[in-house]
Each structure stands twice: as C-alpha cells, then as structure tokens.
Amino acid sequence: MAAESVGQGLQQVALSTAFDVHFPALEVVLPLVAAPLCFLFRSRAFARILSAAVAWLTFGVALVLLQKVLAEGTVRYPLGGWAAPYGIEYRVTVAGAWVILVVSLVAALTLLFDSRGSASRLAPERRYLYYSAFLLCLAGLLGMAITGDLFNIFVFLEISSLSSYALIALGRDRRALMASYSYLIMGTIGGGFFMIGVGLLYQMTGTLNVEDMAQRLPAVLDTRTVLVGFAFLLVGLSIKLAVFPLHQWLPNAYTFAPPRVSAFLAGTATKVSYYVMAEVVFVLFGAHFVFTEIGLGAVLMPLSVAAMFVGSLAAIYQADLRRLLAYSSIGQLGYMTLGLSLANVEGLTSGLVHVFNHGVTKSGLFLVVACVGYRTGRTTVRSMAGLGTRMPATSLAFVIGGMSLIGVPGTAGFVSKWELIRGALAAERLWLAAVVLVSSLLAVVYVWRVVEMIYFGRPEGLESLGRDGEPVREAPFSMLLPTLILVAATVVFGLWSDPTLSVARSAAVELLGGAGG
C-alpha cells in the first residue's frame, strides 16, 4: 500500500461511498467538535449530556472499527484525501482499535458516573469547562492511537497532555496544583524528547508516515543518528508511560486529581502511550533490531521488574487509598512493559490484554474510592473501616477489583498474568515467572490491608458518621452503576476471557509481524 502510494504521487484517494468508511475520522472528530461546543454554550447540563453522548458514540464507533479491522485487516483513511506519505493517514490496526475501544469505554463509563459534590474546584456555573477539557483529553488519546503519522502523534499527545494538566489542577486539594505542575514539566520534557526523536528519524528518512518510515529505515538502521532518535522516542514515551525511574509524576497526579479524572486517566492515558511504544518498537523498528541488535530487553526487563516491586511495595505503605491505587498502577504498568520486553506473542498478548483488564479494573477501583469519599468524606484506608456492612456493594466492588489486581483466578487480572507467565516460560526465563508470582504476593498485602479494614475494621467515634453527619450508607445508584459495570467487567472477562484474549493475541501477532505484515 505504502509503496503504491509513492507511485501515485499527489493523487487524491477515492473513497468508497459507504458512510462507515468515515468512522476512523469520526472517532476523533466527534469529541474534537464536541469540546468547542461545550465551551461555546457554557451550559453545564448541555456539556454533561453532550460529553456522555459523544463518549458512548465513540465507543460504538470503536466497536464497529474493531470488528472491521478483525475482519478486513488494517483500515486506512486518508485525511484531506491525500495519499499516505504526503498527507496524514489514519491507520487503524487491531491493536489500535483495541486501545481506542478501552479508552472510549472507560471514558463513557466515567462520564456516566455522577460526581455529585466531589467533582472539582470549579464553581457550578463554570463546570462546562471541565467537560470541555475532558473531551479534549479523550480526543487527544483517541487520535494518538489511530493516527499513522509520527508528528500527528506528537500533536495529539500534546492535546491530551495539556488538557490533562488542566483537569488534574482541578482537584480540591491545593496539592493538585503542584501535582499538575510537576506533571506538566515532566510531560513537556517527554513531549520534547519525542519531538526531537521524530526529527532525527525524519532527517534520516525524509518521511513522517509510520509505514513509509518503516520501509525506509532498514537502509539507515546502522547510523548513530537513528539509534539516538530511537532512544529519544523511547525516553519520551517512557515518561508518559511512567516507566520505572520516570514515574515520579504519576502518584501525585492520580491522588490529587478530581475522582473521575483519576479514574479516566488511570484507565487510559498510560495505555495509549503503551500502544504507541509498541508501535514504535515493533512496527517502526522491528523486533529484530530492537531486541536482537541493540538489546532493549536487557534494559526494559529489569526496569519493569523494578517497577513491579517498587510500585507494589510503596502501595503497601500508603495511608490514602488513591495514592495506594496510583502506586499499584506503577507496578501494573511494570507487568505491561515486561510483556513488551519479552518480545514474543504471549508476552505482548499479556501486555495488550492488560490494557483492557487493568484499565477496567483500575478505573473501577478509582470510582469505588470516589463512592467511598462521597459517603464518608474521606479516602484514607481507615475510612473504609466497617464499610462491609454499611456500603456492601461498594465494598464488594473493591474486593473484586483488588482480587483482579492480585491476579486471583476468575478475575481479569489473572488472565493477563497467566499469559505473562506463559510468555516468560516461552522465552525460557523461568525466574521471571517466579518474579511475577512473588510480586503478586505484594499485591495481596496491599489489597488485604484494605479488605481487612472493610470487614474487620471498627469505625471509631465520629468516623462512624459520614460527612453529612448521618450514618454512612450505600452510594447513590447513579454513582454505583458505572462502578459496578466496570468491576463486573473484570469478572466477566476474567471468566470468559476468549474475546479479550483472542483480540489481544491477533493484535500481538500483527504487531510482531512488523509493518504491513
């Protein structure tokens, strides 16, 4: 395809007349148009309804796209009608469609969540700004996963980053401002590194299109410029992905952001960066170059293992539930990058299936914490004391989500871990399988701390009362529903793992096949 279009020159690409050819564009354009509309009409109610509707629409479109990609292979869409290396091309791969499905699902469910009383620092009449920023973030994340142009990835990366800085700064605690600032500095350096990396690769190949570049790179792979360009791309993405030593921005950002923003970002932002990293590693450079010639595995694997232990160990010592979940995320991201560093089908499948499994689990858990915070007025581990009887559904949701973090059989987390262990064994690294099992024990510790508090902890004095001075009771239905859907999904797709696993596997096979199969 790419080779053909070079011959076509600047010829316009004729599109089929069926409307669903436009779905790749619509997926991103819908939230992109909805964001200024929210900003224009300045109505909170309008913004709420529009953003929820748009999020569900993007989810529907993502579902159709995924089916289409699975049936017909990579779906391409020439923006502006210009053929691939000249114009910007949307290139929906199985992995890309999988990621946008997760992103739009998490967005739709978190927007369904009724964030009464705990939303953000915005005065009610200015809440529409929140939805505007939320939609921009959604559009940025979706755009990153769909586009087949390296510089376009940078543009959408910045859209999602800039809007997430604004969203995080909305947290009620003043520490949210500092968290946002630190994330801004780190994120901008990451974006800058990514841009420099793209520039160096562009200089050696003359193109920005991922597939076109993948075809032109082998001729210059042995140059130092390309090597440095690759390193800069990787470091830039690692900051966004919170790979172990570059993760410092994440705990505070997730802890102090408004509850729904934490739930959304925890389930999506790092996952999209993971996909882009996989695309760079496997499609742009190819597994052979990355793992055999420069031996990235020797760097990424220890860092992943370190992330698994450091993240989980830190989670054990946290007093605040949100911070506990944030550190747990660092550990869970370690499993994902470990899967990538194995560079085999099982490992990558585990990483990609974890995009869904962890995205759903962690968003669900952050929503659980939002429910608890809404009723008790606190989000500390101690605030969970005795909730087992007073907020039974929410408590059960936490237990199930926690089990998925540990990887208990029957939950989604188990599916990913099982696949990861298979990957480690396939790579003949028995010790890695053992390490994964041991690190899961750490997850048992931090989850058990909370579970113990829920069912055996005793609320003392004032703590038995909620924040409105009344006894704590179950969260309202409008908050509980999306939370329970997300948590139920971890069980459903833990028991019935065929669909998620098969999609992730074909995505992994496709990625490992390199550019254009």
Partner: protein
C-alpha cells in the same frame, strides 16, 4: 493533475544552484546569532531577577527568529517573533506582576548537570551520521518535499508552507488549532472567573484560619 508533475519532480535530480555556496565553511552571521542565543540563554538562567529574565526570553525569541530567517523559515520566523517576543513575554510579565520577582541563589546541581551533559553528548553522538548541514541531497529534501513544491505549483499558491499547512497536513493544523483551544480552556479553568478582592475581610481568607495552624 498534479500527479504526473509530482512524480517527475521526484525523479529528476534537484537543481543545485551554486555549489560554491555549499562549499563555504563557517557562516559568519549564523555563528554570531548562535553565539548570541547561547549567551542570552545562559543569562536567562543565571540571572536571579525574573523581570529581566522574562524580557530576555523575548530577546531570545527575536534572535531565534533571525536564525530562522537565515535558514529560510520565514513563516516560522514570523510566528516565533510574534509569539515568543510578543505574546509569551506579555504572559510572563503578567504572571510576574503578582509574584516575588527574584529567585534565591543556590549552588549548582551537579547531578542535573551530569544528566544534561550526558543527554547532550548522546545527541552530539547522533549527529555524526547526519547529512551535512544544508546538504541538498539529504533524504529530507529528496523524499516528499519535492512533491509538495510541485503540488503547490499545480494549485498556483506560491507559499508552499501555506499549502502544506492547510491542505496536505491540514489535519495537523486542525490539531494545532485544538491545542490553542486547549490552552484557552486550561487558562480559563485556572485563571478565569477571577475578581478583584473587594476589601480586606469580606470574602477574604484572612480570618478563616486553617488546618495549617498558621
């Protein structure tokens, strides 16, 4: 219509107007401007007074715009001058109007310096295999760019940057406009809805006390 011309342009060797220029060694004006840029950057970071530093970021942008012009990026130069020397300086001065304008002196950070030197060394290592500066045969000038020039000629729009910006890569530019919107939304979120404090007392936070305990 443009296809044939474009393919032709891609195939034909690029015209090299003046080989003597390519052979020319150091370019005095570029040396001067780069040296000035370096000097400005160092002064920006070293001065502890933020007001002059903010003005110097504007100067930095102006010199940078001069370099862009030398490197034929007239559109970029125009934008850098207007944004860097104009708007961004105003934003810095506005923000500084309500904060402490001097920075405390601190010893240099050796670990940061080491990290930065290593990063720079990596980048310099990467330059060794780069095409020469200004080499007309570099891949960037052989692939895609010639087709853009031909395409712009075909639609009779002389400024190629405009054509590429608005048409070939129009989607990037939509993204750019959305970045602008995002900045607008973000700043309105953070600084919008402000009002002048009525007078000390009413609505102010002075008496409220706090859990900081003062």
């Amino acid at each position: 219509m443009a296809a044939a011309e474009a393919t032709a342009a891609a195939a034909a060797p690029l015209p090299v107007r003046d080989l003597a220029v390519v052979e020319l060694g150091p370019l005095p004006l570029e040396v001067l401007l780069l040296a000035l840029l370096g000097l400005t950057a160092v002064v920006i970071l070293r001065t502890r007074e933020l007001f002059p530093a903010a003005l110097l970021t504007g100067v930095f942008s102006l010199i940078n715009a001069g370099l862009f012009t030398l490197m034929d990026g007239v559109d970029v130069a125009f934008t850098e001058a207007a944004v860097g020397a104009g708007i961004s300086t105003v934003l810095f001065l506005g923000a500084l109007s309500m904060m402490d304008r001097s920075e405390r002196q601190r010893p240099p950070r050796w670990r940061a310096l080491l990290a930065v030197v290593l990063t720079g060394a990596a980048l310099i290592y990467g330059t060794f295999d780069m095409p020469s500066y200004g080499d007309p045969q570099a891949p960037v000038h052989r692939h895609i760019a010639p087709q853009y020039l031909a395409g712009a000629e075909a639609v009779h729009i002389p400024n190629v940057v405009t054509v590429v910006l608005a048409s070939y890569r129009g989607y990037d530019t939509l993204g750019e406009t959305v970045v602008v919107l995002t900045a607008g939304v973000g700043v309105v979120i953070l600084l919008g809805g402000r009002r002048r404090r009525r007078s000390a007392g009413v609505g102010s936070t002075i008496e409220a006390g706090g859990r900081d305990g003062g």
